[in-house]
Structures are given as structure tokens and as C-alpha cells.
Subunit: 269 residues, 4 copies
């Protein structure tokens, strides 16, 4: 099973990059499932129902989220009926709307897509993502061995630890949240594909997608300056491609996807 | 000017990787200056005088450090006389032994190597690294325009912000600390080479160089289990190569260096 | 039901203060239950089996703990058989030895003593203490309405929030961990006694029980200087007295207990 | 010299409490200088020019601030001309408007009032407050030995450490920020009056001045619910009174000031 994942889409520049390159990437990788992290899609802060639909129409099968999931209050209006959107599964069970995982049907097969959030150095304090993964897999493994996790976390330690913990139990653990793609895509010894961070999709001449001068100003002044997402200029798209052995659920390979002015998409490749 | 940088060398496995591959890398890149981050060289915690000398003999010109600089108390005995070792320059001026930057002479030219540490999500609270860079550059720019910074920091935001802040004023900003190489090496618009993290050098089947079961145990139990550095098995080396225009101090190019079982060193390349 | 609580006993100076004043305090308050927080009893770091027994012999009925519970590895040898020791109940259920609450029999009545730890600004990431309290109370309320909680937490917000959340459901929420007694003892509207922090028991001319020069040195140097508990000089004892209505479980009153050189124990009061 | 200090005034309920009780407190303590922390005066978030003037007219001589100083953007319009307002002195020197300390003239004498902010567990990363105090005192001590510091910080360790560090060099170190008054007012061995936290001024049946249900909701849901300041109901006023020996600058005594429904102001005392 071929899966294409696109990391945190940041504002309108990110949505443009997605619209421009998703068809090209689909042409190249012929993914059977396309997953897009949309936690920053609406001006850097959350997502709207309108953007959610746009993403599906543009070819996404599942939208994953992260700590910014609730930033745009539009989410409360559509999350319970959004069948293709997953927010971190380890938010409190009793009070959190929406779903933490979803199944995608591909011919006779099912892929489970889980969204989890880390606790280390994160502002929110959620249920332990390791035990939450155990709990969800006890359920999911009755349905399928094909499992993709978007682990939205800050530290490399927590990300690597979850991947090694689940090695052999899930098909892929792909990290998001830092907005910088890492150069460590690999298949772990028991067959789980891993990438610490898929990187972001948005403005290239920016700091995590934010106007450089605004981000720098905060470090210089320590004042509560408002971040402004960079909406113009050169773009970047970050993600990865994963190929799974459908009989075992193990990954055959994982490779990063990176498009920017220094690494333009090669239409002839 | 050609510069080779090697990221956080972690324990004996890291020292072995350095000993094995530094000659090969020198053969390929012919660096005029070789810089090695040694903050984890002694069993993951700091560095000893003996290891410092080994690194110099193995071909390092400068050793950079980070938050773990003081972990091995041997450092206090030799840091003030260690002419080739730099610890984060933004530790308190009044009380911190050692040096925050050093010059390396290459024929008629001088390269300044600075070590700085970030404040965002770090346990220590140091002088603002942005203003510290300004202060040091006011001095250094009287000597040279060739400046390499090892910025030891946790968050991608602080790392990118410092690089963009100093774009055009220094030759390179290369990050360390997360132990995972990022896939974003680039030359910024005004000529500063940038890489968010160079990655680590040590065990490949490990979590930041630590035995996976020990790191996982901490996330599962929240008990103060002691990390154990993985000292055997397959290795990884992370770093980067930077080429500078000596007349302007600007970077011509930067590329990641990565050696591991999935990306073995190609002796014929 | 009359309950005496003594806050974090810090090292030998704290143990001396407890030995000296517990008899006096018992004479004054005639508590039916005496609870002592022992997370720092062994040189500031955890507790030993020997000290645990000493505390019981000195008149403690229950020993509560906190984030330092595992610092002295002696704990692993005796915690499972220590019937009067409670460690934070919201450590992971699967992997944590010991108990999170205990019953104390007083004539025909039972008092449940719970230990919980906060998550806000704490190094460990535990199960949500609010939901954990719900879960434990569902069980405990089948046995008794007399419930005392030692909530070991950093922020005043999390402490006040838990107390207001449980107001009317438990008899008392008393905070520990900051080592400084707060001046806000009160009975909340629905009958729960509350004190943000009971304060510590140990050296008075010290910083949280640590030698001032050692604590200051860390803020000045940002080096990993080792804390040294102050073991001599003037002492302080912090705690509180709570009186409960046994038929309802509600608190009649709560008052701070504070003994130090500026507020000596008045033997004639 | 007699000084009255009032801790974080929180929203309109806090302003009402100040208006009601400041005359009474002045009658009792006859302070020569009255200092009020106003960082939460405007709906919990910062202060406006209008409120600043109200406070001066109500009898405050100096307004101190804290991490919330910039929350209400009105501050940028009047801070540079506000001669009686001090914001944390250790914000970056180059970019921060306003002043970090101010002198108050009392007959022939001058009192310096300094505002500093802690770094431990705080969201902002400011200049080291210990060294900043040294720097300011080198200047101030040429003018006066009467020095009052409002140290706005989270941890009891950093607050106690600064007080012990400055013991004998300043007249008083009084903490703010946690909104809960501590029960540890004392004069340190070399003559500096100290109180870890003066407590807040605002609604009494509230969590740090916020509506309980709103604060609890955040701990239960981990959603970004907006805090709502409680503006009605019973009130609390927290502060302290300090008496200084004018010839030495040392404190004669410090005592907490606390008014609430359980500890009503005794008009006849
Ligand atoms: Fe994001
Ligand atoms: Fe995120
Ligand atoms: Fe490191
Ligand atoms: Fe590090
Ligand atoms: Fe403690
Ligand atoms: Fe503690
Ligand atoms: Fe405040
Ligand atoms: Fe504050």
C-alpha cells in the first residue's frame, strides 16, 4: 500500500503549495492513501470547515491535526461530523469532540490513521501517548495490521521512543510539529517506517512559516508580538512517501518528500 | 574555505565512529577546518581532558559543546587551558570558566568559531543568544568575516530565528542538541549557510544514542531511570560540510553529512 | 475527626524538628490522625525504610510523598509492603509500585488519605489528577466520606482548581511541594478544607531547606552545582490542623501550623 | 519609613477592593509610600492609562508590573511618560519601553522601587535578575539605601534565592505573580524584609481571580478555553506592610496584609 503524507500546511501559502503540487506528487507516487496535516491551515491557527472540504476535494483522504487543532473555533461546528479528520487521540476522553483515529478503505484493505500528541515540552498535558497507542491498537488490530501514526510532538526523544516502542506493531510513525523536516527516514528493525518530522508546507523564506522579522522580534524583545504567517514568496512542501507490504503491515520503504526553491520538483523524474 | 562539522559525539560508540570515518571524510571533503561537538563524548555526559586530546589528535581543530558541558567534572581542570574548546558563550560572564569562541588560523585567514546555547525550552537560563551574538560579532568582525556558529538549542523556531537574524553577518549557523539531523541545509538569501541540526554521532539503533529500552522505560514509568548510552552495534555519524567564499565570508554551499547502515559511506564516491 | 498534617520533611534537620515538636503538637491538637510528607526525608531526596519506620514510631499514621519519591532507591525494597506510605496515585498504573491511597481506621470511622501530583510545570507527566481523583473517589466513597488529599504540585492555579473541583466531595485538599507555607487556609463553600501549601519542615535559614549559598550559586552560574541540604542551625516546621465533621465528612476548620525562630511554639498556649 | 504594598490587582473586582480598603489601610498603617502591583488590573491582562491614573488618584505612589505588563496594548501609549510605573527591569535593555525602577521622594529621603521578573518556569526569558539587581544597585546605592523590590516570579526557590542574595543590600524583597499570599514574612539576618508572595487583590471565590468553572475547565479539557476574570462576589486583598529604619535602610518589620470574608478588616483594631 502506497501512502503519501504532507506535513503541517501553514496558511494560504501552504494551501497553494498543496494545490499546486499534490497532483504532481500523486502522479509520481501513485498513493492509494493521501494524508495531510492541517493544524495550521487557517492562517496558522487551526482549520475551518471550508478548508477541510477543500483538502478533501484536492485529493486528501485524511486530515491529521495537532496542538493547534482548537485554535479556530470553527472546528467545534464540524469536527463531530468530519469523518476524515483526526485530532490527537490522547486528549481527555470525556470532554474532547472528534475522533483520534479513522479507517480508510483501499479495495479490500483497511488503513487505520491515528493522530497522537507528545507530552514532553508541550503546553498541553494529555494522556500518556504510549499507553494510548496500546489501547487503540488493541482495538485496531482486530480490524487491520495497516496502521499509520502522525505523532505530533516537540522532542526527538519522545518521537524516537514511541517509534521504537511500536516497532513491529504499526506500519509507520511519522512526526510533525517542529515544521522542519528531518533527515532520518528509515525502516526500523521490526518493520515500522519512521521519520522524526515530515516538515511543513508553506512559505520557504520564513521561520516555521512565520514572517522572519516577526519571529525574530519576539526573541529580541520578549514582548507578546503577534506572529504573522508569511503568505507570499517562495514555497516549501514537506512530507514523505511510505510503501507498505499489505500482507504483513510492515513497511518496505519510506522516503522524504521535499519541494522548495533549492530542491524544485523535477517534472521529468 | 572548506569546513567539516561533526554533530554531538555520543559515548564510545560515537568516538569509534569519529575515529573510523574522520579520515575518510577528510579524504573526500579536504576540509581546512574540522569542528566536532563533544558535549556527550564521555559516556553521554560531558568530555574529559583525555578525550579532548584524542579528538585533536584524530584531526579536530575545534571542539564545541552544549548544555552537557559541565556534566563530567574533569572539565573544570582543563577548560581554561584548552585553547581549542568552546562552550556556550552566553553562560554568565562573571562565573563561567573557559571560552565562548576561538579563532582558527588557516594560512593567512582566520575563522572564528562560536558556540551559543538557546533559551527556549532549555533547562538553563543563559544570556540572550541574539544579543550575545551581536556583542561577540562587534569584536570578531574586526578580525575576520569568516564566522562559524554551533547553535545548541532545542526549538526549531529559535534556531531558524538566530540564523535569519545573523544572515549576511556570519558564514554559517549549524544547530546541534536534538541529535537528529534535519533535512533543510541551505544558504540563506544574504549568504549564511544554515542547517537546523547536524545530528549525532554514535549508536544507530538507539534513541538519541541511548539504549532504546532505557529511554522507553522512562516514558512508560515516569521514574528517574538512568539513561544508558548504547556503546555497541551499528553506528551513525551526523554532520555537514560548508564551503565559504573567503573574500566575502559568505557561504557557497552547505550539505549534510550522514553515515549509517542505511546510508553507508561510499568509498568510491 | 482531628487531623494533623506536617509538610515536606527535609533531611536530618527536618527529622529533628519532627521529633522535637510532634509530641508538643499532639498535645495541643490531639489529632486522631497524623500525616507527614516524607518525600525529602532522606537528605532531601526520597525516603529510606529506616526513616519510614522512625516516622511511624514518632507518631505518624500515614506518610505521603511527591515527585522525589523515587530518589532514594531504598524505596523499591519496601514500598510494596509499606502499608502506611502513599505515593502520587496518578503515576502510571501499569508500572508503578506502591499505593496511591490508604485507609486509616479511627474507632468506627475510616479516613482515606490520597496522594496526587500536579502536571503543570512539573518534570514528570502523570495521569490527569482531576480524572484520577474522580476514579479513586468512585471507589473510596463506597467506604467513607472522610477523605484527605495531599496534592503535590507547583502552580497555585492547579492546586486551587483541584480543590474547587473537589469541593464538597472530599474533606481536605492540602498542597505540598513549594516548601513555602501559604496564608490562605480556608473552608471552601461546599465544605472542603484547603491550603495551597503546608510549607516545609527543616532548616529555617535556608532556601527550601538547601544551604543558601548553594542555591544562589546555581542561579548565578547556571552550572549543575549539587544542592546541599542544610542540616544545622535554626529550624522550621510547616503544616496544618484540620477538624472534620464525622457525619458529613465536611471540614469544620483548617488552620496553619508554623513553628520557627520568629514564631516559636508557645508551650503555654 | 513605612511602606504599604498591595499585590496583583485583578480586574474590576480587584480595583473595587483597592478603592474600598486603601483608605482604611492607610488609616491603620499610615504608610509614607504605597505601592500597588497592577499587572492584571485591566480585566486580568495588563493595565490602561486610565486605570494607572485612577490608582495614583486613589493613593498609590508607584505601580509595579510583571509578565502581563504588555497584555493591554494601551501600555505602549503611556509607559514612557508614566513616571510612577515600573515594569520588570530585566526585560531587554535595547527594545523595552518604560522604566525598571523609580525613586519616590519622602521628605528628605528617597526610596527606590525596583521591579524584577524571574526566569525559572516563566514563559519569557529575560536578563538574569540576580546580575540585573547588582547592576541597578551599583547605580541606586549612590542615591539611597532604601530599596524595595517587587520580584515577580513563579518558583519559591528563585524568590528565596534572590532575597538571600540581596540580604543586607536592599530593604525589602516582596514576591508577586502566584496570586496566593505566603505565610513566611520575615526579616532576614542582614536586615532585608522578605515575603515570598503578597497574594492577589480581586475575587475571593475564584481561582487566582478567575471564575472557578473556567479555570477547572481548562485542566479537564486541555482546550484553549478563555479565562474569565470573576468580577463579582466576595473580595480579597493581599499585600504587606514594611517598616524601615531610615538611617540604615534595614527593615524593622514586615507583616502580611490580608482582607477577605474569612478575615474581614477590623475597623476597630
Ligand atoms: Fe504545526
Ligand atoms: Fe504543532
Ligand atoms: Fe547532545
Ligand atoms: Fe545538548
Ligand atoms: Fe518537597
Ligand atoms: Fe516535591
Ligand atoms: Fe498576576
Ligand atoms: Fe504574573
Amino acid at each position: 500500500m502506497r501512502i503519501l503524507f504532507v506535513g503541517d500546511v501553514m496558511g494560504s501559502r501552504g494551501r497553494d503549495m498543496l494545490a499546486t503540487y499534490l497532483p504532481q506528487l500523486k502522479g509520481r507516487y501513485r498513493p492509494q492513501v493521501t494524508i495531510v496535516n492541517g493544524e495550521n491551515a487557517a492562517g496558522g491557527r487551526g482549520i475551518t470547515g471550508k478548508i477541510y472540504k477543500e483538502f478533501l476535494q484536492a485529493g486528501a483522504d485524511v486530515i491529521t491535526m495537532g496542538n493547534h487543532v482548537w485554535d479556530n473555533r470553527d472546528i467545534y461546528d464540524f469536527i463531530d461530523t468530519a469523518k476524515k479528520l483526526v485530532r490527537p487521540a490522547n486528549f481527555p476522553v470525556k470532554t474532547t469532540p472528534g475522533h483520534g483515529y479513522v479507517y480508510v478503505q483501499v479495495n479490500q484493505l483497511k488503513l487505520a490513521v491515528i493522530n497522537l500528541q507528545g507530552n514532553a515540552l508541550m503546553a498541553q498535558s494529555l494522556d500518556n501517548p504510549f499507553y494510548k497507542a496500546d489501547e487503540l491498537l488493541a482495538e485496531i488490530h482486530r480490524q487491520t495490521d495497516l496502521v499509520f501514526i502522525d505523532f505530533h510532538a516537540e522532542t526527538t526523544a519522545e518521537k524516537e521512543a514511541l517509534a521504537w516502542y511500536l516497532d513491529g506493531q504499526v506500519s509507520a510513525v511519522v512526526g510533525t510539529h517542529t515544521h522542519v523536516q528531518t533527515n532520518d527516514a528509515r525502516v526500523l528493525p521490526q518493520g515500522t517506517a519512521y521519520l522524526t518530522d515530515a516538515g511543513m508546507t508553506g512559505a520557504y523564506d520564513a521561520i516555521l512559516g512565520v514572517k522572519p522579522e516577526k519571529s525574530i522580534e519576539r526573541f529580541l524583545t520578549q514582548l507578546p508580538t503577534r506572529y504573522e504567517v508569511k503568505e507570499d514568496g517562495r514555497g516549501v512542501l514537506g512530507g514523505c512517501f511510505v510503501d507498505l507490504d499489505e500482507t504483513t503491515g510492515r513497511a518496505r520503504k519510506i522516503e522524504p518528500v521535499k519541494i522548495n526553491a533549492d530542491n524544485p520538483f523535477d517534472f521529468d523524474a
